[in-house]
Symmetry: C4
Subunit: 193 residues, 4 copies
């Protein structure tokens, strides 16, 4: 099975997810700057989710580039990841419209955690399928994935103390992933040689 | 006529269908776990339809991979399938928002039945066009398609007895398709040799 | 300039147009068959527009297949066509929700007419750019495009007598285009030889 | 890293942005021409944004065509551009629904300005990455980008005098970009030789 259509379908779903989130930014009735003020938390949660989904697309892109062929198992592992990402607009809207209240921040973290687990399963399935020892080793030792999971697991209960602690941890996870993953790039480059 | 654009267009439509369904999950006004409770049936119907559309995309992918060229007839058979799939968000929303009431469950089954018939017509058109005896044989004997149609035809009247019977049958059809179709994969592999 | 991205972008826009139209089919509040009755005209207008947009995608596909390269002029002629098609969901919703009232049927016809003119301009630009005498001849003599324009120009005033006359003409135009355009296919085939 | 998926993802996002703007054209309740009158400013702002997003897609297309490979930095510069473009439907809706009131026109200009800056950063990153002196020179001297930025910076305060002055400047920027960028095309052609 070729990977092109999997990439195209995933691109389509992620592009729609990232774009329909903006529909939560509902046009205000007034025409003054003050009328935009109520949208500030919605806007901030939109920016956060835009960056998060961007990181997922970026990593998805990298991971599949190091892959040659896909199986039915990988296809469904990918569908699983897309499922959790598809819930991001909903939790983003709930969190933003309620000014980062406790339960919405917890649910946001839970969806991020599930997406991170789904991503990890997909990475493992790819490494297994490829019998690609190099990729398997690199991904297996990937401290980023492990740190992300740990941070989400901490961030969720911390929301009951103060939601800003959770948000801070979510932002740290983003920053960790934002820095390009040098090891995976090295493997891709070594393939090309 | 080349199949690339048909695949790209179908990917686009299916990606949008699977993603706009999440818009039915409307952000609740409260900020407690209880406020999410009313969304549980909507969420469950969303999960079901996500999996169903995922199966269709998966099978569509497989089926076209065993194909080399397409005709105007295939193009419209594909459009016919996309039409019925495009109604899935509507029936999913109606079923979920009404807590799996009888008539919405019946309508859901009818749309699934029409999509299954459209899929069968597309498979037949492809097999005919390809004059591909192997694919024709494999698809012709495909017990999955026959079982799906029978199950839908049973599930629709059963909703008048109890809707959970229909839902059970819809889930069984999903499980049947979820298991990869070994015969089609074999043919694809034999082509490549 | 290569045509792949133009095709991909057009596929994306047309796929979204055809799919967001279903959002006009708003989930009814009741759970009986009667509650669906009010949606019948909306559904019928949805089917009509789905078929129309399908015909445009199909013809767009054919036309660009006979093309090798595109210019800035063609790119904007394509954007012009996509603009008028992007208004189809709006006019479909207005016509369906108002049970095919006169002015909405007139506006629907006007948008179809503008899309047909935009399609004609795109076809001419492609023929001119290619200095493709065969394609230019085939498209120049295309009775389909001329008939479509004439039918739309007739259908618009006829709505003031009875809207069913306009709808009938819109359906006839669809049927005319639904039949595959044998001449363009012949040219494509002759290229491949 | 290959550029195909970056193009496909950007195409998807831009196609969705350009198409969901039409959802701001809400179906009116009445069935007379007068009922459409209230939509005229919304329609005009839709046309403006459609053309603007079209220009961005067109230029994005050109710019990436002159590029061979992309880095993580370029990927995020592209994401940054898509972020500002994703806000266009929101500001278009606000401006159109409020009949081009001062603050909405100012915000519209601010989003256009940020998108223009993001585009400039992306162009610089591409030129830097490519160590492409020709492209760097051409883009570096690009009077269009400089003029656009200057015009936006003027248009924003001018809205406080009269919004039509701002709109006029926005239209002039569109016209400047609409004319094909002959220098970039020359470089592309020279590569092909």
């Amino acid at each position: 099975m070729e990977k092109n259509r999997l990439e195209a379908f995933s691109d389509g779903v992620i592009a729609i997810i990232i774009t329909i989130m903006v529909l939560e930014l509902k046009v205000p009735h007034g025409i003054e700057w003050n009328d935009l003020m109520s949208l500030v938390p919605v806007f901030f949660s939109y920016v956060m989710s835009f960056l998060y989904v961007g990181v997922y697309w970026n990593n998805h892109h990298h991971m599949l580039q190091a892959t040659k062929r896909i199986s039915g198992r990988i296809l469904w592992a990918n569908m699983h990841l897309l499922f959790w990402l598809s819930l991001v607009p909903f939790v983003t809207g709930w969190m933003g419209e309620n000014n980062f209240a406790t339960i919405p921040v917890v649910l946001y973290g839970m969806v991020l955690l599930m997406a991170a687990i789904a991503y990890y399963i997909l990475a493992r399935s790819l490494a297994h399928h490829e019998k690609n020892t190099e990729l398997a080793n690199a991904l297996g030792r990937d401290w980023k994935a492990v740190i992300s999971l740990l941070f989400y697991i901490c961030a969720i209960p911390l929301a009951f103390i103060h939601t800003s602690l959770s948000i801070l941890l979510y932002i740290i996870v983003f920053v960790v992933w934002f820095v390009p993953d040098i090891r995976v790039e090295k493997i891709i480059n070594s393939y090309k040689k």
